[in-house]
């Protein structure tokens, strides 16, 4: 499969080369684009999807680009070493693809002003050569909440969290808001796995939640294990990062699929053409960075409602964080019709009303 695409890419590049022959297009060195992943590329979740983006860059830019990646790089001191190693080894642009790489990325960026750094899901851009990018996954989570409330008989969904960082908290809140738009009494039970990737532990968390009576499973960790447990125990579940339908043909309702490819291609091209600028992009369903997997295993009316919600969010008619919304303790947060600003969302450290969990500090 992969050799085939490479072959196609090569022939395409050759054809382009012929077409461009005689023009001023210089045959300079390939641009080196590098990626740092928090999990293995075989996690079939978060890191897997970033790697799919890398493959798309290879495919579309062909010989013009040289790629490299490091997988399973722990967040923290190791990350700094890994990023610095890449910067020294001649990478022109480095994508660091986990929240915990935020400070290391900025630290290394200070030392290598000529290298471009792109940090996923963070908010610190301390140097002109650091850009941040993220996707509005919470848009998909709101839709999942709507579906969950329609499909659940118990009125309780289980939510496996990784770490209590704004990104994850925002997802839980969006899910709850979506669910409550259908069933105001809907509850969410949260279990923190305190890891991004540990299939065994994620499976254990799923089992614990099911034993406590939830009949819908959703996760913000990276492996397919919770989906498998849900399938085994006969409840419904949502996939994470990738379309996980293979692991639960009769279980998966939908999945939020991260499509990083187009963004990576655009940014690597920008470096090559010298037009790269510091940006902070946060794109969602509308831009195609967040894609919903097919709505399956649900009645037609639920499917129709899900599609309608998706369309409303895509067109900008509706934002998941639209007031009135109260915080968990009942104090008002957003007034009627008020929409949360991005800054608040990206630093979100509180639950909205209806979450059955204490947010760890």
């Amino acid at each position: 499969m992969r050799t085939k695409t490479t072959f196609l890419a090569l022939t395409a590049a050759a054809a382009l080369g012929l077409a461009a022959a005689g023009t001023a297009e210089a045959q300079d060195d390939p641009t080196k684009a590098c990626w740092i992943y928090v999990g293995p590329i075989g996690d079939f979740g978060w890191s897997y999807q970033h790697h799919q983006g890398l493959l798309q860059v290879e495919e579309e830019l062909g010989d013009a680009v040289e790629t490299a990646y490091l997988e399973s790089v722990p967040e923290g001191a190791d990350a700094e070493r890994a990023i610095e190693r890449f910067a020294r080894s001649g990478c022109d642009i480095i994508f660091t693809t986990s929240f915990g790489y935020m400070d290391p990325t900025n630290k290394v960026a200070a030392k290598f002003p000529d290298v471009k750094f792109e940090h996923a899901t963070g908010y610190k851009r301390e140097h002109p050569n650091v850009a941040t990018y993220n996707s509005r996954f919470h848009e998909g989570r709101y839709i999942q909440g709507v579906i969950a409330a329609k499909m659940s008989e118990a009125g309780v969904a289980g939510y496996i969290g990784s770490f209590p960082i704004p990104e994850v908290v925002m997802g839980i809140n969006a899910f709850v808001l979506g669910a409550q738009s259908v069933n105001p009494d809907f509850k969410v039970k949260v279990v923190w796995a305190n890891t991004w990737f540990d299939p065994g532990k994620e499976a254990d968390a799923a089992k614990a939640l099911i034993d406590q009576g939830v009949d819908i499973m959703t996760q913000h960790t990276d492996s397919t294990a919770p989906m498998q447990v849900a399938a085994e125990r006969g409840i419904k579940a949502f996939g994470q990062a990738s379309d996980m339908i293979e692991f639960g043909p009769e279980t998966q309702l939908t999945a939020i699929v991260d499509d990083w490819g187009p963004y990576y291609v655009e940014r690597v091209k920008a470096v090559r053409e010298g037009t790269w600028e510091q940006i902070d992009i946060w794109a969602g369903l509308a831009e195609g960075h967040v894609v919903m997997a097919p709505y399956t295993n649900m009645p037609d009316d639920v499917k129709a409602l899900a599609e309608e919600t998706e369309e409303k969010i895509r067109s900008g008619e509706f934002d998941p964080f639209t007031g009135p919304i109260n915080k968990q303790d009942g104090t008002p947060w957003l007034a009627e019709g008020e929409v949360a600003d991005d800054g608040t969302l990206l630093g979100m450290n509180f639950y909205v009303e209806g979450v059955d969990d204490q947010l760890p500090n």
Binding site: P40, E71, G158, D198, G200, D211, D357
Partner: protein, 304 residues
């Protein structure tokens, strides 16, 4: 619900128990193999791949055992025949295993695997409360307990077990008595590898029937710690594995129930509990000394 929790605990404890039991025998023979994680992950990919390609789960299990033992043989050759440093070689084995399994497993990512089904004994497994727990678990759960009994019997009630312990306690004396130290250690190391391979297969065929890179997620290291925790006594490994599994599962349930304790603290409970017990056990210095294989980690070169 309690029954279901206990079954979940057994599932979490079984791979730790199997891997630790293998390492216990290795360490009793005086060899420290830090490559458990590497052998375990090799077992996981082998078990998964063989089961999926042949369609036979049991074939996968046996292949995992063989590959685990073969992987251990590399360690044995390096440390026993070439007398390399055991700590460094063990670490290298872990890194090698993690890398190699990732490469071998590339084509198996994202494919649902086969599951080793649980045993179902008519009537017995339908008994209320204890039925499913005692008579309706996966076969490897029973294997793990039989393995413990067998190792305990072998080490403390057979002549061969005595020889193995003698090699681990004082290889020079054992050699003088005519025991082939290196051969005994080779066998122990391979047994440890076979157990680690089986534990890996448990992960990819029972626990979470799928292949993902790094799916052992540090369980090999926990197994290593359990051996010390158990002060090299087989039945204490069972206690340790179930304590660790119990606290792990218990804290997840506590979270789902909404217990107002920070989840970070709850997540670290299994480790804190292990350390606490370790401290209590090691207070009795004499007993600890008695159980620790005196030649642990020391290389042996027979004089000619």
């Amino acid at each position: 619900m309690l029954e279901s929790i206990l079954i979940t605990i057994a599932t979490a404890a079984t791979p730790l128990l199997i891997a630790a039991m293998g390492e216990l025998v290795v360490e009793r023979s005086g060899v420290l193999n830090l490559g458990v994680e590497g052998m375990m992950i090799m077992g996981a990919i082998t078990g998964f791949a063989v089961a999926l390609t042949t369609g036979s789960v049991w074939l996968g299990v046996f292949a995992a055992i063989l590959v685990g033992a073969a992987f251990a043989l590399i360690f044995g050759f390096l440390t026993l025949s070439l007398v390399t440093n055991q700590v460094a070689t063990g670490l290298a084995l872990t890194l090698f295993g993690l890398g190699l399994s990732g490469m071998l497993g590339e084509g198996f990512v994202g494919r649902p695997g086969l599951r080793l089904g649980r045993i179902d004994i008519p009537f017995l497994s339908d008994l209320p409360f204890v039925g499913r727990l005692l008579f309706g678990q996966d076969p490897l759960f029973y294997v793990s307990l039989l393995l413990t009994a067998a190792v305990a019997y072998f080490l403390f009630a057979t002549r061969a077990g005595l020889m193995l312990r003698a090699v681990g306690d004082n290889h020079t004396s054992a050699h003088a008595q005519g025991i082939n130290v290196v051969a005994v250690r080779y066998l122990a190391v391979m047994f440890g590898g076979a157990c680690a391979g089986l534990a890996g297969a448990y992960l990819s065929l029972v626990y979470t029937p799928q292949w993902v890179e790094n799916m052992t997620a540090g369980r090999g290291w926990i197994a290593l710690a359990l051996v010390v925790f158990a002060s090299w006594r087989p039945w204490r490994v069972v206690a340790g594995a179930y304590l660790f599994g119990g606290v792990t599962i218990g804290q997840l349930h506590a979270q789902a129930l909404g217990v107002a304790i920070p989840s970070q603290l709850l997540s670290s409970l299994p480790y804190l509990a292990t350390i606490a017990v370790l401290v209590i056990i090691s207070r009795n210095r004499r007993l600890t000394m008695m159980n620790t294989p005196a030649s642990l980690g020391r290389p042996f070169v027979p004089e000619r």
